[in-house]
């Protein structure tokens, strides 16, 4: 090749273009400053950050590393841990600390689940995530007639502080962070957890953990609610207010796209609906008179990770950028912690197939990889048998090992946001951002999130997307291995399943009967009466609920006391 055909270097180009030259120098300075500050941070112990061929891997790569320059870089991508956070919420990401491996788990009574938690911790899991049964999710006691047949089946049955104490018996809540998927009765279960931590001697001001507490997506998709939207949002604002003073390190909400997605939405709808819910909570907090810089850092998120690999990664990156921009520019948050979107992720339950269920291991591995490339802070990987039943110990172990292989064998965590600069990934990230902004405008036009729920907008959009996807599968325009193609082997269904027998319900009812026998009934009645009074007076309900919980009032009793004042949500049927 002749010398005259050589592509000019960016330095040669910038010599002729003063604007480009200035931007290039700025990026060089910023990169040098970033590397100066974070390039030599403490690494995880004994971890090699070089490739298998022995090439040293830097924590961060930018356009400068390949001699190109992207004029949108500073505005759209920037540096990890810095506005607009596209490249990650934290500066050094997995170089310093791997994501938390947090398997969602619960079944039977608190005794069975306590054993499962100890098993998971023994096998290297680093955080806990509580799956409750349907009665608990809906705020019913295990001995309520509506609970029959469902106690301990889909998750663990927790009806009182006594059950929560058993759940974490021998597990130090000071050291192991707990996340609880609970929404309608979030305040009650949060108080069960706080009271348990108190009894373990934990300083609540230092207490870490997460409650999902995202009621808006319950109305949209997951459907475990108690009260109508307005009182439900008041209770959430109570939790924000109380916790910002008393439990400032606790994540008081995990704004969740997962259930919206599982109910049938697209990735873009998941992104847009969820962020819009987040903005709605921020507005509620501000309206309550709270300082956005005080409560916004305690908001966290929860995404689904489905099969479309690059779209999922783009979703995570776009979410951080959109959140940061809105928090800074629209809600006027000043503290960078208020701009930073932190997230949990779970592989897509709905993508698991009953046909040749072993193939689910592969699906989960790809999805887990997408979550990590997207920069998640914690991850649940589904077990291969969850499309048939709650997972067996072996299936859960394989799911956890899948994360460990990703963390320790693949080299993926060695460098931050490795897909930045990919034409496709950056284009998709921009598409997701633009698409989400269009949906925000549509929701604003209809009068906001609560109005959209009341009118069935979200429910309708989600159902339409689910129908469209099903149609695409049934017309073979989307192939699902084992379902509409590659079905050889479908006859082999020989996997072991976990069984929850009827004796579990009996045992839990007995636990509850014993509790009702031994507690001080007058104390319970008094606490419940004070709670009802506080609700009537529109006071913050956290302290009265905590008092009722400490007296061993049950979940159903607290629900009942509040339902008398707030009423019950009944979904308009949209079909």
């Amino acid at each position: 090749m002749g010398e005259e055909k050589k592509r000019p270097s960016i330095d040669e180009l910038s010599a002729e273009n003063q604007g480009l030259k200035a931007e290039l120098e700025k990026l060089r300075r910023e990169r040098a400053a970033w590397l100066g500050k974070y390039g030599s941070v403490p690494k995880r112990d004994e971890v090699l950050f070089d490739t298998l061929s022995g090439c040293e891997v830097q924590p961060l790569y930018t356009p400068l590393d390949i001699g190109t320059y992207d004029p949108a870089y500073a505005d759209k991508l920037g540096f990890p841990g810095e506005y607009p956070f596209t490249r990650g919420p934290y500066t050094t990401m997995y170089r310093t600390r791997l994501w938390t491996m947090r398997q969602f788990s619960g079944f039977g009574t608190s005794e069975e689940t306590n054993q499962r938690y100890k098993y998971l911790l023994d096998h290297g899991q680093t955080g806990l995530s509580v799956a409750f049964d349907f009665p608990t999710l809906m705020g019913y006691d295990s001995d309520d007639r509506r609970s029959e047949g469902e106690v301990g089946v889909c998750g663990v049955a927790i009806s009182s502080l006594a059950d929560m104490e058993t759940l974490f018996d021998g597990i130090p809540l000071k050291d192991v962070s707990v996340s609880m998927t609970i929404n309608g009765p979030a305040m009650m279960l949060y108080c069960f957890l706080l009271a348990t931590a108190e009894k373990q001697g934990v300083d609540i001001r230092e207490f870490r953990g997460t409650i999902q507490n995202d009621i808006l997506k319950e109305y949209m998709a997951q459907h475990a609610w108690i009260f109508p939207p307005e009182p439900a949002l008041k209770i959430i604002a109570d939790i924000f207010e109380w916790s910002s003073v008393n439990a400032p390190k606790f994540n008081t909400i995990s704004i969740s796209g997962y259930h919206i997605r599982e109910a049938g939405s697209t990735a873009l709808q998941e992104l847009a609906f969820t962020l819009k819910n987040g903005f709605t909570y921020v507005e509620k907090g501000i309206k309550r008179g709270l300082d956005v810089n005080e409560f916004a850092p305690r908001l966290s998120f929860f995404w689904d990770v489905h099969n479309d690999f690059f779209e999922e990664i783009a979703k995570f990156r776009a979410a951080r950028r959109i959140w940061a921009r809105h928090m800074k520019e629209i809600y006027g948050a000043k503290d960078p912690d208020s701009w930073r979107l932190r997230t949990h992720a779970q592989t897509a339950g709905v993508s698991l197939m009953a046909q040749q269920p072993e193939n689910n291991i592969t699906r989960v591995a790809y999805q887990g990889l997408a979550a990590v490339l997207g920069g998640t802070q914690s991850l649940h990987t589904n077990a291969l048998d969850e499309t048939l039943a709650l997972p067996t110990e072996k299936a859960v172990r394989i799911a956890l090992r899948t994360q460990q292989i990703l963390a320790y064998e693949t080299g993926v965590p060695s460098t931050i946001d490795p897909l930045a600069g990919s034409y496709y990934v950056e284009w998709l990230t921009d598409q997701m951002e633009e698409g989400a902004e269009r949906i925000f405008a549509e929701i604003d036009e209809m009068g906001g999130v609560v109005k959209g729920i009341e009118d069935g907008y979200f429910q309708g959009q989600i159902a339409l997307s689910a129908e469209r996807f099903q149609h695409e599968v049934e017309t073979n325009r989307r192939i699902i291995v084992g379902v509409n193609d590659f079905t050889g082997g479908n006859e082999d269904l020989s996997i072991d399943l976990l069984r929850i027998g009827p004796e579990i319900e009996e045992k839990q009812r007995q636990r509850l009967a014993d509790l009702r026998e031994r507690r001080d009934q007058a104390e319970v009645d008094g606490a419940l009466e004070r709670l009802a009074e506080a609700a009537r007076n529109d006071e913050n309900l956290m302290e009265p609920v905590l008092d009722a919980v400490r007296a061993y009032a049950t979940l159903g009793e607290i629900r009942h006391a509040l339902e008398k004042i707030y009423g019950r949500f009944r979904e308009p049927v949209f079909f």
Partner: protein, 140 residues
């Protein structure tokens, strides 16, 4: 003679909130020309059977993803029998292990459908059952 439309009640019994499958199947049955009544969420077996009788349906299709199928299917089946509505087909789907499907079918529940079933299978099954069992009922 105009063939009468098949009437189907799609029900979500128990506390289970997963309605993606129920809605997708309900839409597919409707698109296949059936009259579909969807109960909405969190129904008790009593509410479902009452609605089935009031609406005079041919088929009750339950969607259960909560693992409570061994409680809820038999309860709906027995209530239908108690109410003299045992001519109604009770079918459904969800997260149901195959051994449980077999047990429920032995009790008198119709065919049950697991994850990954094309909706066309459910449509074909209901049509076939209707032709065999009910098609002539309301003629004349």
């Amino acid at each position: 003679m105009v063939e009468r439309k098949i009437r189907v009640l799609v029900g979500k019994p128990g506390l289970d909130g997963h309605d993606r499958g129920a809605k997708v199947v309900a839409a597919a049955l409707r698109d296949a020309g059936m009259e579909v009544i969807y109960t909405g969420l969190h129904q008790t077996p009593e509410q479902i059977v009452q609605a089935a009788i009031q609406e005079d349906v041919d088929v009750v299709a339950l969607s259960i993803l909560s693992g409570a199928h061994m409680t809820l299917f038999p309860r709906v089946l027995n209530l239908l029998r108690e109410e003299g509505a045992d001519h109604v087909l009770l079918t459904g789907g969800g997260i149901i292990p195959s051994e449980d499907m077999e047990k429920l079918q032995e009790m008198g529940v119709g065919q049950l459908f697991g994850p990954g079933t094309p909706t066309t299978d459910a449509v074909a099954y209901i049509r076939e059952w209707f032709t065999k069992n009910r098609a002539g009922d309301d003629e004349g």
